[in-house]
Symmetry: D2
Subunit: 317 residues, 4 copies
């Protein structure tokens, strides 16, 4: 089988990436590094890095690609995939919906206003908490091991670890997520202990990665769940399609519609400044830039992806 | 230039369409024909029809394809395109946002709750009313003529007409839309007379079409604004991409996320039971089935498209 | 029959009022005169005046009592009374509820969120519009005449007039109220022409009064609908009780609860800076001070009433 | 000092109470006993009882007055009073507002929608939880003792006890209140441990009382905090006025406005079917009737109070 090569699909990409990264870094000062926990506030506001990877493992990169950061909300895509593999669609979508909300990622309004009070989708906090409760395991410890193993496989990187400091920090700033979790428990969405569910949720949010890891995880999605480098099918295609649909409709917080119009690729951002995106059937992409815009997405990262998409006409639409 | 042929892309499609239409018609009795105006209530609850058209004009169809129905919300996609061509992106997106809402298509909640109170996107009623106010013309009459001409060109059908009865009927059941329009006027989104703007809005919603017209209009979008049959570029590609992005994120009312997952094609539905969809770069599709599901989409039409997408692996995701 | 005399009930009141008015005027600069229509913006920001009147017609006053201003929302109490007299409780409370909302006086949220979508109470705009639609008359002109006659009788002042300039100005800034009215028409609360109903609504809001008029109207409520000076029963006691209940629970916009705690008297304020209040069974009070606080009530007027209530222990609670 | 005597103020009251209780019991079958915890579900749906008590301790009663029930939301009035005595107005009203909400007693909408996200008033759950956090004590145990002592003094009944079964039951059905508490902690309203605060909250809700206890507690409020039987001042008058203001504007859940119109007395209801009310300056009243109407108030109890108020013209308005 023959795949599209990065440099064939995107001529002159190395030079362009260097140029765009330099240009987009100018945007960083207009953004803000997340500060709700001290560990995130340490993020380098000036940093911007990108790695692109094709099916042969060939990479192209620019900027600050050594930065290590936590997955944060990007992990929601993969916890959803694991929950789907563990339970099937029917059970998962009994606990969480398929629709964008138009509200903040940590809003509880629709839980109260729209019956039956299940989270609208798995990429808002309430939905991701509901999804975390569906991950299987014989014990809490076993569940956490399964989570970590799954993320390691998806990134093809056995050294991925939970960042203990970030995890502890999240746990101590968790009042709003805890409020959501108890609301979900009250209306029957959560069946397990709130503490255990939040433990899983905060754990997968606090996995340390590099942009290379994001690119490899994006590559897996670009090839519908079969790692093109190893040839191993890690996730059923159907579930990856579901995940990519959510990434388009709700992946970039309350700027998902705008991102669909201006970039047009499935993507998921995190509050640490990471963005995982991909060119379907071709290339995985990881970006990091901790300075966030008002919607919570990497301000320079979004700009960089816009330049990339426009220059090579990458929009799916 | 050589295009994909319908029967090459979709082997055995004629037989399949016949079969699926028969199967999906069974769903009709579980739906409800829209009844807020008498003209819509006359819709044939049992009807289901589909036309697919490729770039050579070759068609494949099944079911009740002679049905004539009004565009209703499907027209919102094309009024947006005309407004974009008339004003450019900057002016249009100063008046209307790019995000899905999670609320009903006729909700006013976010207009009051989310500053600055502009409609979240052009496919909800408030947004489409705002867009209608941007259509240019030297007079109200001129604007209406321009609207009709544009729809005729997009459907390559000079006989398209406003359905006077439906228009009058809409106008007399317009209290909620009028409420929205005055709200928009109050917060500065509408600058013109509410009556004139609603006149344009109801007019384009009340254009009579057939599923063949929808298929031709879908074909135009599938080829990014250049009618592949005539070779004429009617709409800039950029604007068509914007329209298709909105069709994916907000095209199927509050089931857009679900449709993205289960069908995975850009689509826009109307309360008359029509659905315009398309296979990007390949085929335009028109569907009609007046019996609606609880979300306001053709119950049998959605089912039919799901079968089609699954059988031929058509999802964009 | 013998009534409580002003100077017996409130010893040393003249001296106190003078002193308090001087003190409270200092607050005016911290407030803002309503400016949504030019006529209101002309209000004298520095003005503060009060008239108190007992059952013998004896008055006590201080400050700028010559100021003429429009009733604005204060009129809602009396249009409710007229609607109750015209229709009885059952019909009125089929169209409007009895509960405070916690939302802004011009909010539409609960109309959409809480079935069956009738206004929560008659003192918010939506409720007052619904009430205005219930005022009887053989023609629109007759209705307006009946409204004016009723207000004249309640103020015992045959020279009360609609202020044509304010009325016209309101009518031209009416988009939000019009939006509400069409929403109410859509859900069946309004049965008549929106234009006619708003005409009545804006007319009674634009009646010119003085603080003496307010005091006389307050006196009528203090004596449960029987003018103690003339001995004439103008309004059934039951309806006045209803009105006073609403004045306590919803009379001071979104500061009604606070006013109940800090002043403890039935009151209704208007955006022109007027406040009508009363000591039950004793005294009618009119206040004007156009500089408004953030809740839309006269900033100095509320302060003045607080001093008055505390000094003489007037709270009903 | 001479007080109003029950039988002077309310001639023929004994006979009337008997009659009305019989009549109102007919309403019970149309109501529902609260069932969110098993202990409440055991309430006698057919029961209805009332005790009235004057300043001489003279009582008049009818119906099922032996019933023991938990205070539930009625306790919110007295925990507010204790918090006011412990902290003063400024500190209390920094944590909780003074306004009715129009939303359900357990709604979280306004916490998210209205900045700064403090509960609107102390009689909704969120507000009562905030108030519970303000009760002073050197330890959690000391706080609970102070709470119990305060309720015992207010009811002049040293045998009042926390109902351990109800308390435990509440604690195990506490997810929604816990959700609220964590939300309040997230936005800085709660400073202590959520578990400790909820412990106090559920404890005072689960104090067992009889209608006679309610009547005595109502008597204390009727006389502005000075028990007229013992002559002891237990609560400053100012705080009792605040409490009675809240009872009028928010005491009967989302039917407070209606109760003000139809009964016109300060009152607080609980989900156990109790109602504490009072004739200001005269009489304390306790009612119990576990069958609740759709707003959560005793269906027969409200009817009974309406008859009482109308027959003797008791409305404050």
């Amino acid at each position: 089988m023959s795949y599209i090569k990065l440099h064939d699909r995107l001529p002159n990409i190395e030079h362009n990436l260097q140029m765009w990264v330099e240009q987009c870094k100018q945007q960083c000062h207009g953004g803000k590094v997340a500060s709700y926990i001290p560990e995130l506030a340490k993020g380098n506001k000036q940093a911007l890095g990108i790695v692109m990877m094709d099916a042969y493992g060939e990479q192209c990169s620019a900027g600050d690609i050594q930065t290590v950061f936590t997955l944060q909300s990007i992990s929601k895509v993969f916890s959803l995939l694991l929950a789907l593999m563990d339970n099937g669609e029917e059970i998962v979508f009994h606990k969480v919906g398929m629709e964008p909300t138009g509200d903040s990622f940590n809003s509880m309004l629709k839980l109260e206003l729209v019956q039956p009070g299940i989270p609208f989708n798995p990429l808002i906090n309430a939905g991701a908490i509901a999804v975390s409760s569906l991950i299987q395991g014989s014990s809490q410890k076993h569940k956490l091991e399964r989570v970590l193993q799954f993320f390691r496989k998806c990134a093809h990187n056995d050294s991925l670890q939970f960042n203990e400091q970030v995890y502890q920090s999240e746990l101590h700033s968790a009042d709003l997520n805890r409020s959501m979790a108890y609301f979900l428990k009250d209306n029957g969405v959560l069946e397990h202990s709130v503490d255990d569910v939040l433990d899983i949720y905060f754990r997968h949010c606090s996995i340390d990665v590099s942009v290379k890891d994001l690119a490899r995880m994006g590559l897996l999605l670009a090839y519908n769940g079969t790692d093109p480098i190893t040839g191993e099918q890690l996730i059923p295609k159907r579930y990856v399609q579901i995940a990519k649909s959510f990434m388009v409709t709700c992946g970039m917080y309350n700027a998902s519609g705008q991102f669909a119009i201006q970039v047009g690729l499935p993507a998921k951002s995190g509050v640490s400044g990471g963005i995982l995106t991909l060119i379907p059937g071709a290339i995985g992409i990881g970006v990091v830039g901790p300075a966030l815009n008002s919607k919570g997405n990497s301000i320079a990262g979004v700009e960089l992806l816009e330049k990339l998409s426009n220059a090579y006409d990458l929009s799916m639409f």
